[in-house]
């Protein structure tokens, strides 16, 4: 397979992915990821908004047949997490027993390795969610 990954493709999203930064429009609508145009009201006056990183699992699955590039990590849990501020984020769950995942499970964001490429390739990091450490 050709190498589709350019480093620039990833560093341009470092802040959003490491700090969970989305957008908030002038009318207070928050969304993730940040967009030029507010998906609720259409306002173009959108500022960065940092989410707390706490949320609840609203649905999940276990990826057993991943796309190429992710085979090494299978099986891995993937979830839709509703952040406490409202927006839903798709991400992998980590540090969790798949049997323990349930609707409404409280989770928090953590920066983790997402995948590696060939020996001389880059290593991608990003957000995952883990059960809330109280």
């Amino acid at each position: 397979m050709a190498r589709p990954m350019q480093v620039s493709r990833y560093w341009r999203h470092f802040r959003e992915k490491y700090r969970l930064i989305g957008g908030k429009c002038e009318n207070g609508h928050v969304h993730f990821p940040k967009r030029e145009v507010c998906p609720v009201c259409g306002s173009r006056n959108v500022e960065e908004y940092e989410f707390s990183g706490k949320g609840k699992v609203i649905s999940w699955t276990i990826v057993r047949n991943p796309p190429s590039g992710f085979e090494y990590y299978k099986p891995y849990p993937l979830a839709l997490v509703q952040l406490e501020e409202g927006p839903v984020v798709l991400a992998q769950l980590t540090d969790v027993d798949p049997e323990e995942i349930d609707f409404g499970m409280e989770v928090e964001v953590v920066t983790k390795k997402i995948r590696e490429f060939e020996e001389d390739g880059i290593i991608l990091y990003g957000y995952k969610f883990r059960p809330l450490v109280k």
Partner: protein, 386 residues
């Protein structure tokens, strides 16, 4: 306003075509459709295809297929809307005819998937998701649909068994279709015992990776008459609609509403002057059993949360009130992604001509619905017997 009729339909069997390449499949289907109409030239070609560049390192399909089919220096382009590419190509062909710029238009949908490694095929299909915010995290299309399936089951109290009924129904209808990839009936247990690909979604909830091509020829009634096409061949394109939704599943206002299908269906019903009750059969996009349930709801056939209930009540069988997947659907006929919407169109044409292998009695109006992405790009078309 001009009207559009389909005067020719052709396809290749769906399956693992180890001896045939993308151009072979496309040309075969296209020539079959032209032979069916009895014509040897067209004004233009629209190719429905999702990911030929990824699967077989071939883009510029308009030139490739028109050239190899011997169509001369006509305009020819590829139309891409993920798994809804075929449905979109049919609609672009219809629009070309309705616009008055082109009189006889060919549409071919083609996908050659088996030349790729399975995990690469999974990756290429996931290119229809959001690359930065979904694929980055290791999603597959199966996984995205599994997230919706679990949410749906929880919301309305359905079981994996309930959703399996859609696969069972598709296989029953596929048994009679000589072009179907799977011609064997299955039981609910077959689905339940198949392995999880992305829990709670199992192998038999999903349509297969495969190869295939299908084609239709579109013109106006006036031109069809002029060309001497017998009226038994004609099927009217009565209505159509198309709409998008957020590309990222997580950004959906409501995970359990295929809003794009709802909007597209409203447009198509309005254009055709019909409602869901007038439709005699529905070719819906059952790439996954959950999508069949949600599609029936979005099309107004079932109320919200009642899509799977229709299957439980036996209302989706060929001789019931709301027949779906009359020739096997994506599950049993197969889902060569960019070709699927054109297969659905060919199947609607056969039903409305009364030539289908498992015929819906007295079918007069049929609907096709083709989904791209996780519901992010959807076409709905309505066809009527002439």
């Amino acid at each position: 306003m001009r009207k559009a009729v389909i005067i020719g339909a052709g396809m290749t069997p769906v399956g693992e075509h180890w001896k045939l390449g993308l151009r072979d499949l496309a040309v075969e289907a296209l020539l079959n459709a032209m032979d069916d109409a009895g014509i040897d030239k067209v004004d233009s070609l629209y190719v429905g295809n999702m990911a030929s560049g990824s699967f077989v390192e071939q883009e510029n399909l308009g030139a490739l297929i028109a050239d190899w089919a011997g169509l001369g220096n006509i305009p020819a382009v590829k139309i891409e809307a993920a798994c809804a590419s075929g449905g979109a190509a049919v609609q672009e062909g219809v629009k070309a005819v309705l616009s008055g710029l082109e009189d006889v238009v060919a549409v071919v949908g083609v996908e050659k998937m088996m030349d790729a490694w399975p995990s690469d095929a999974t990756r290429y299909l996931a290119y229809a998701a959001d690359a930065e915010w979904e694929l980055f995290h290791g999603v597959s299309f199966v996984a995205l649909n599994a997230l919706v399936m679990r949410y749906y089951m929880k919301a309305y109290g359905y079981t994996e068994e309930d959703l399996a009924l859609f696969a069972v129904n598709a296989h029953i209808n596929g048994t009679k279709n000589p072009y179907a990839m799977f011609k064997k009936p299955i039981k609910v247990e077959t689905v339940l015992k198949s392995p999880y690909i992305a829990d709670p979604l199992k192998l038999f909830d999903a349509s297969p990776v495969c190869d295939g091509a299908a084609s239709v020829i579109i013109t106006t009634p006036e031109k069809a008459k002029e060309l001497g096409i017998p009226k038994e061949k004609w099927v009217e394109v009565a209505g159509m609609g198309r709409a998008i939704d957020t590309i990222n599943l997580a950004n959906r206002e409501d995970l359990l509403t295929l809003k794009a299908a709802k909007v597209a269906a409203e447009r198509a019903y309005r254009m055709a002057g019909v409602t869901a009750k007038d439709i005699d059969f529905f070719e819906v996009h059952d790439a996954f059993t959950i999508m069949a349930a949600l599609s029936l709801e979005a099309l107004g056939v079932a109320e919200r949360g009642k899509g799977a209930q229709l299957a439980k009540e036996g209302q989706i069988a060929i001789d019931a009130d709301y027949p779906i997947q009359t020739m096997g659907g994506l599950k049993a006929r197969g889902h060569p992604v960019g070709a699927t919407g054109v297969y659905q169109t060919v199947e609607a044409v056969l039903q409305l001509r009364g030539e289908a292998p498992s015929q819906v009695p007295d079918a007069e109006i049929g609907l096709t619905q083709n989904i791209g992405g996780t519901g992010s790009n959807i076409t709905v078309s309505i066809f009527r017997r002439v």
